[in-house]
Structures are given as C-alpha cells and as structure tokens.
Symmetry: C2
C-alpha cells in the first residue's frame, strides 16, 4: 500500500484508527472454543466487527511468540485473513526488530514476504544498515521507533545531545535522510503530545503511528492537534480498550462499539481541522 492509498482510505473511512491485535490467549472470552486456533478465531471476530471503523491492524509479535509455533501460525493466519478479506487495510507487524544488515534482511523477508505484512516497526539503536534492508520493498513501510509511550522513554530517548537535540529528535532527523514519507513512518507516543509537535516540525510529511491512547492514558484530541498534517499524517492505535471491551459472548459487538466511538471522535477531529468536509 502506498501513501496516497492510505490517505484515500482514511478519507473514505473518516477514521485514522489502527486496531492493535495484542491478543492475550488468557483473556479470550469463553464464547470462543479454547483450542490452538482460539487466538485466530478471536482475531477474526474482532477484525470483522471493527473493519468498518479502522484503516489498519497491528498485531504485536510478542503475544504470538508467547504461544510458540502455534502462535506463529495464528499470526500468519491473522495477517493473511486481513489481506484476503480487507485488502484496503494496512497491516503493521509490531515487531520492533533490528539487527546487522545481513540479519535484518531475514527479518524483512520474514515479515514482508512470508507473513505479507505491509509495515514493520523497527528499533533504531543499531543505525542505518539495520534499517536499510527493510526499505527495499515496494509499497512496504518501516515504522521506526521515534518516541515511545512508556515511562522508560525518558531513560535514553530524552537524553540531550551535545548538538542540543534530544536523542529522539536526532533519530527522526537522521532517519528522514534515509527514506521519504512513502516508505517510512515514525512511532510517536500519545502520552507526550508536546513531543509529537516537535517530531512533526522535524518530519512534516511523514505518517506517525501513535500508540498509548486508551489504556496508557493518551488524549486523542491533543494528539490530533499536535500531529495532524495536510494529509492527516496520523494512525492512532488502540488495543486493549477494543479487544477486551467485553469478556462475554458480546465481545465482538462491544469491540465494534468502542471502535465506532473512536472513529466518530476521529471524524469530528478531521472535520474540525478541515481534513474532511
């Protein structure tokens, strides 16, 4: 998927919602048969229920790896189901990978060619040659960690450099020279809207993937105010608030209601900021 298609999708759906598929097998409602396909069955119901309100899905690999090889099968089935049923969706593998070039190339092949994800989150610590192997795939995206939503972001990301920038500003600044906004996005945590504004100044044309709205406490209106650009430029992720909106048989309806509520808030923000009429 390219940027133009993504922006078109956001305008059609009147939503910039990404649904995080951080599926915890212990939290799957009893309404789903608890066999080794349970995670996929649950995801399928969540996807079908929330698809009208979302433009992206983001399975986090930790939740699948925790189930071993059958977890990897569920991850694969989930991504293939989305791509087959809702080809307009952006599928982000939230994997936070990154290794020496030779090895990052294997991750790129695993996520883009085998799993068929459209995008992968990548950690920046190892620098350019750890990111570059992910950039050689047409219509595929690297989403580089800029500023994360957790408290630990203060430990290194906010460190002041000799040149006056903080580390996360330097990461974003340097990465903008590696790839344009058709191939690269940044993670910018919702818990720090003032910092999203700083990142927007450095990277005006790039999309930001914003985690941390909902369970982690980030505020959607503040994020939109700080992060919108003329092509929207934001994908806001919600995971637990949607997946576990109900733990009864009505879990899919509850997930749909939660996703719809976020979509409505997003629509109003898009209109208010003249990104939709």
């Amino acid at each position: 998927m390219n940027k133009k298609e993504l922006v078109g999708q956001i305008r059609r759906k009147r939503s910039f919602l990404c649904v995080g598929l951080d599926t915890d097998s212990a939290k799957i409602p009893h309404a789903i048969t608890h066999d080794e396909n349970a995670v996929f069955q649950f995801n399928k119901r969540i996807i079908d229920a929330t698809a009208p309100y979302a433009v992206a899905y983001k399975p986090n690999t930790a939740f699948y790896e925790n189930e071993g090889a059958s977890g990897w099968v569920n991850l694969e089935k989930t991504i293939h189901y989305i791509k087959a049923t809702y080809p307009e969706m952006l599928v982000i593998a939230d994997a936070k990978r990154g290794d020496i070039g030779n090895t990052s190339g294997r991750y790129a092949s695993a996520f883009f060619e085998q799993l068929k994800a459209d995008a992968i989150t990548v950690a920046p610590y190892m620098g350019y040659d750890s990111v570059e192997p992910f950039l050689g795939f047409e219509d595929k995206w690297v989403i580089l960690l800029g500023l994360t939503s957790n408290t630990g972001s203060a430990d290194f990301q906010h460190l002041k450099l000799e040149n006056g920038n903080t580390l996360f500003e330097e990461v974003v600044r340097k990465a903008c020279s590696w790839a344009n906004s058709d191939q690269l996005m940044f993670v910018a945590g919702a818990t720090q809207p003032a910092m999203i504004r700083k990142i927007r100044t450095i990277a005006p044309e790039y999309f930001f993937l914003v985690p941390g709205v909902g369970a982690q406490g980030g505020n959607l209106a503040e994020v939109a105010k700080a992060g919108f650009n003329t092509e929207v430029g934001l994908l806001v992720n919600a995971s637990r608030s949607i997946l576990y909106a109900s733990n009864s048989a009505d879990f899919a309806e509850a997930a749909a209601a939660e996703a719809k509520s976020l979509q409505k808030q997003m629509e109003l923000l898009l209109i208010k900021n003249k990104l939709l009429s």
Copy 2:
C-alpha cells in the same frame, strides 16, 4: 545458569567460544535432507561437532522466523536439544527484543519459559521498563545491546551527549544500576576493541557478548586484551566461519576444526592473561 557456573565452564573447557546458530536454509549442505527439519538436523550436527570447544550457543531468531512456523519449531527443537544434551551450555536467543513493559513480559515468557533459553539479547532504546520484565527470572540473563559490531553503530551509539558521554557509554552506565552482573551482560562488538576497553571501565564485573570476530573482521587477541576481567568476562561469538566452514559432506568436521582452532587461540589468550594455568 549463574555466573559462577559460566565461569567454571569457561575454565573447564578452556574456551569462551559462543557458536552463533544463524542457520540459513539455503546454505545447508546437500548431505542434509532438505525437508522442513533440515535446519534442525544441520544445527544438531553442528552442535555435536562443536560442543567440546564451546560454552554457549546463540541462535539468531531472524533466520528461524524467515521460515515461518516451521522455523519456529526448528528454533524450539534446537534449544531443547542443546539443553537436554549439553545442559552445561548457555543458550542465548539473539532476538534483540524490547517493548513496553506489558509486552516485554510476553517476550520474556516466550523465550525463557517456552523456548527455555538462558539469555536473550535486548535493545535498550525503550528504557528501563522495557528491560525489567526480562530480569525477574532466576539464573536467566538479559544481554543488552551496548555497542554493536555494524557500521550503523556510528549513527546513534557514538553520539556525544551533553554530559560528555557517548550514548553507548550512557546505556551501559545506566543499565548497571538496573541489574548486577549475575543477571545482565552487554553486547560489545569486536570491530571496535578500543570501545570495548571503555565499556570494561564502566562495567568491570559484567560479561560481554562479543560478535564480529571472523566474517565481520574483529580480532580475537585485541578483543581479549581490551575486554578480559578477572573472571574472563567475555563470550566471543563466531557464526558463519564455523557453520559454513565447508559446504560438503564433511561440514561438521570442518565446523569442529574451526571451533577447535578458535578454542586453541582462546586457551592461549587465557593462559597469557593468567586466567588459566
């Protein structure tokens, strides 16, 4: 495995060699039947051949994920085989994971509880709460990326901070306050021995996992000189030079010869530095 056992093992084997199981299915010799178990069968032969000369094995997850769910099965079988057959070996999952606390906990469970690895490599960018969930397991280790062996390490790891430290020095300094040398090691790339010396000054008691000897050009004697402490303090990894020492039917013998040659060099360095008599 605890630190005392690891040091004991190094002294008994007269080796601080870690064999990197970066197994590329395309490079497996024809002598192995090329079915979905090929990677495990190859690893098993390599492990049996090199076990007399090594104290640790390090499968890199990228090479397994690249084969999908069957790759994950081969990773699991490989680790379980090592733990069952050579319980004295340290098994390092070279995964370079790291996520918000809730999610890092899933990775910790996946690698320590499901896969039974003794150690996992972790990326530092997301800070303390992304590392902490890996620290709560008895006799298990976090190996935090300090300074990596690739050219991209210059992009961020070498950045000078306002306080005069470089970023990698700050990462090591701060992480030493998170966990002691019984739970934490650092990655310190062999391609920059002068920097290994700097890290040794900051973290005198910690083990360093040193990639980059062999295919990447690092020099073993220089690494030893810069990195040894009174308990050795080094695990030096070699991958491609051992795995692909021969692509014929004698691949295991060739791997053994290569591992033995490294062990002999290590033994001499240990004796020279009065760490063995």
